[in-house]
């Protein structure tokens, strides 16, 4: 039985934009299991980054609860709250923006160590910094320890920000688009290093990306959660989702992405959307938010009820989907466009 380390229940999050209220997340329910590879994917504005921030406790939900190791994080105070902060770390997308340009690598890693009293004295700090750099494959360590961010390449900077996240010995790391700004040729190396960290340090990694192929590689033995306009629309085992996506949005997404193989990508069937316009979060359509674009839209059903994330009636796999016709056990029928 998988043991959840973080659990989100009925999480909503609104943002105020002028006088408008933007519902960025609506009714998010899922658990992150200990040591699993979980990937959240979706297009811009789907709420994946906000979900990441909420998991880390950087942002409180508007309503709903987040449990970390069985404890509601909203009830944590003082030392417990600090422990949670240390335990769940986030790595940002842009290593340029997230590293202080005036600090050397050793300062960047040393300060949090000292601030959280995780090491003793100068010698302890030095040896821990070297250990961390070694963990993220920045070797020989001496070459990097006194460098400033601008003296490092994009990939190296991202490794430093990973090392910084590791200073507090977290049990969960949220990696938000952590490799998307890195060149193709070194992207996979970074990802593999992060995947190795799980076994070496017993850390659970949640990977947030817009790139489904990358998600598939990262979470091959884990799970993928697909988000659309603030809701989780499908979550299940990666191999299931890639081979047999259930939710219409996931199907369309997978069919739209070109493949790095000329013959495959040219013969790929692209499912046509009914509309290319993405609804604004402030003017979401009634019922399922995807229904105005959905090729399998069922009038009178999809535009009425908001679908709940659940296992479809006659499904043999444990993928959960938020889709009204699937919920009822109907077969999806393609619309004539």
């Amino acid at each position: 039985m998988p043991e959840p380390i973080i659990e989100l229940q009925g999480v909503y999050r609104d943002f105020k934009k002028g006088r408008e209220v933007v519902p960025v997340l609506q009714d998010i329910n899922f658990a992150i299991n200990k040591l699993e590879f979980l990937c959240l994917v979706g297009e811009s504005g789907c709420g994946k980054t906000t979900t990441g921030k909420i998991i880390c406790g950087l942002l409180p939900p508007s309503s709903g609860t987040i449990h970390f190791e069985g404890q509601d994080i909203a009830t944590l105070r003082g030392a417990e709250k600090r422990r949670h902060r240390r335990n769940v770390q986030i790595i940002h997308q842009d290593p340029y923006a997230s590293l202080n340009p005036t600090q050397t690598v050793s300062e960047m890693l040393g300060y949090p160590l000292l601030a959280h009293r995780l090491v003793n004295g100068r010698r302890g700090t030095d040896s821990r910094v070297k250990e961390l750099l070694d963990l993220v494959d920045l070797t020989p360590v001496e070459d990097f320890i006194d460098k400033y961010p601008h003296q490092l390449s994009g990939g190296q900077r991202q490794r430093v920000s990973i090392a910084r996240a590791l200073t507090t010995e977290p049990s969960v790391i949220v990696a938000d688009e952590s490799v998307s700004m890195v060149d193709v040729s070194i992207r996979i190396g970074l990802l593999q290093m992060m995947m190795d960290l799980r076994d070496r340090l017993n850390v659970t990694i949640v990977f947030i990306t817009h790139d489904l192929a990358l998600a598939k590689y990262f979470a091959w033995d884990g799970r993928i959660g697909v988000m659309y306009l603030g809701r989780l629309v499908e979550i299940g085992a990666t191999q299931q989702i890639i081979a047999a996506p259930q939710h219409p949005y996931t199907k369309v997404l997978l069919s739209a992405i070109p493949e790095p193989d000329p013959q495959k990508t040219r013969s790929k069937q692209h499912i046509q959307l009914r509309s290319e316009d993405i609804p604004r979060l402030t003017e979401l359509p009634p019922g399922c938010s995807f229904h105005p674009r959905c090729p399998w839209y069922v009038p009178g059903a999809c535009d009425v009820a908001v679908p709940q994330l659940a296992q479809p009636a006659q499904s043999l796999v444990d993928t959960k989907v938020a889709c009204v016709p699937l919920e009822r056990g109907d077969k999806l029928v393609l619309h004539d466009s």
């Binding site: 590689y217 997404l253 070109p258 493949e259 193989d261 990508t265 290319e276 316009d277």
Partner: protein, 338 residues
């Protein structure tokens, strides 16, 4: 010059470009040569800083001020007339731009003047190239906007900020072919767009090329896009074309370890697990590039020869060229794996 075959619309011949900077000369493009045929779609793939954008900017002579073309020609053939783009006068160059060769830059978000309506920007473009009849411009513009699947009347009378990112990108594509250019350069045409918008742009581009029969040079770091759209693929590394060939040759029978390395570092959506590997090291500093083959510090096939002598781009198979001393070893090693 006269050996240009009638199908060749553009020939880049031994082009070298240097950026003069305070820290030294950056050799951004070195002895680059290729031919672009009529109706052909060519992809320049490579990492950021590889020099692919420099090559494309040189084609319309829009290089930054500190760039110097140190060698080479860019020949453009249209209606049996051959011109060297690098030798055009200011006036000729202005006429050449957009009318013969249009460039759709990366990031269409800011490609339009925010204070002018789309209509005005179409009209400005057409008038600068001698069109006078407003109605004719309008008719052509509306038909192109329809071709890129937009609501033509509405978009034509809009201000840029009233359009979404994907709509702007499509409008820019329509504007790009307004004057019926022979060559359209696309710089990262789908980067920064959402997946479904990317799909729409790719489909629109394919439609447009089928109907208007122009040639495309597109620059991308996205191999999947190249696989889907290109007829020919050129791999650019450290300012050089290290491999060029038909899309199938490049993807299924690559001869250069760098191209192969790129291909094995890209995840797929196949139903099987990917076995991937990054290329070790990072791209070279172009102020002081490595000796010999510039890829040798990162290459697992590198020998002593590679450190000393740079390989030339030469024929590997029919129309498939690669610059590598060890083409055979790469092929042999791949047979073992398969």
């Amino acid at each position: 010059m006269s050996d240009l075959s009638p199908e060749t619309v553009l020939r880049v011949d031994d082009l070298s470009i240097v950026y003069r900077t305070d820290r030294g000369d950056v050799r951004a493009t070195n002895n680059v040569s290729f031919d672009l045929k009529r109706g052909e779609a060519m992809a320049l793939i490579g990492e950021s800083g590889s020099g692919k954008t420099t090559i494309s900017l040189a084609l319309i002579r829009k290089l930054p001020k500190n760039a110097v073309v140190t060698n080479g020609h860019i020949l453009y053939q249209h209606k049996n007339k051959v011109q060297d783009v690098l030798g055009l006068s200011r006036r000729q160059l202005r006429g050449f731009r957009w009318n013969d060769c249009a460039m759709v830059f990366q990031g269409a978000q800011n490609a339009f003047n925010p204070v002018l309506k789309i209509r005005k920007q179409f009209e400005d473009t057409a008038r600068a190239h001698g069109w006078t009849d407003k109605d004719a411009i309008r008719k052509r513009a509306l038909s192109l906007l329809e071709l890129v699947r937009l609501d033509p009347e509405r978009v034509y009378e809009s201000f840029p900020h009233e359009l979404s990112g994907g709509m702007k990108q499509r409008t820019l594509l329509a504007l790009g072919v307004l004057l019926n250019p022979q060559v359209v350069i696309l710089d990262e045409p789908t980067t920064a767009l959402d997946i479904l918008t990317q799909r729409a742009i790719i489909d629109v581009l394919n439609d447009m090329q089928r109907q208007l029969l122009f040639s495309i040079i597109f620059i991308s770091h996205d191999l999947s896009l190249a696989a889907e759209m290109a007829d020919t693929v050129a791999t650019v590394y450290a300012g050089e074309i290290v491999e060029i060939g038909g899309v199938d040759d490049i993807f299924y029978r690559s001869l250069h370890p760098y191209t192969y390395g790129l291909l094995t570092s890209v995840p797929t959506l196949d139903h099987a697990q990917d076995v991937l590997q990054s290329i070790p090291g990072s791209p070279p500093n172009l102020i002081a590039p490595p000796s010999g083959c510039k890829f040798h510090p990162r290459c697992s096939f590198a020998s002593d020869q590679c450190q000393v002598e740079g390989p030339l781009l030469e024929l590997g198979r029919e129309t498939h060229l690669a610059a590598c001393w060890h083409k055979d070893r790469l092929l042999a090693s791949r047979k073992e794996v398969v």
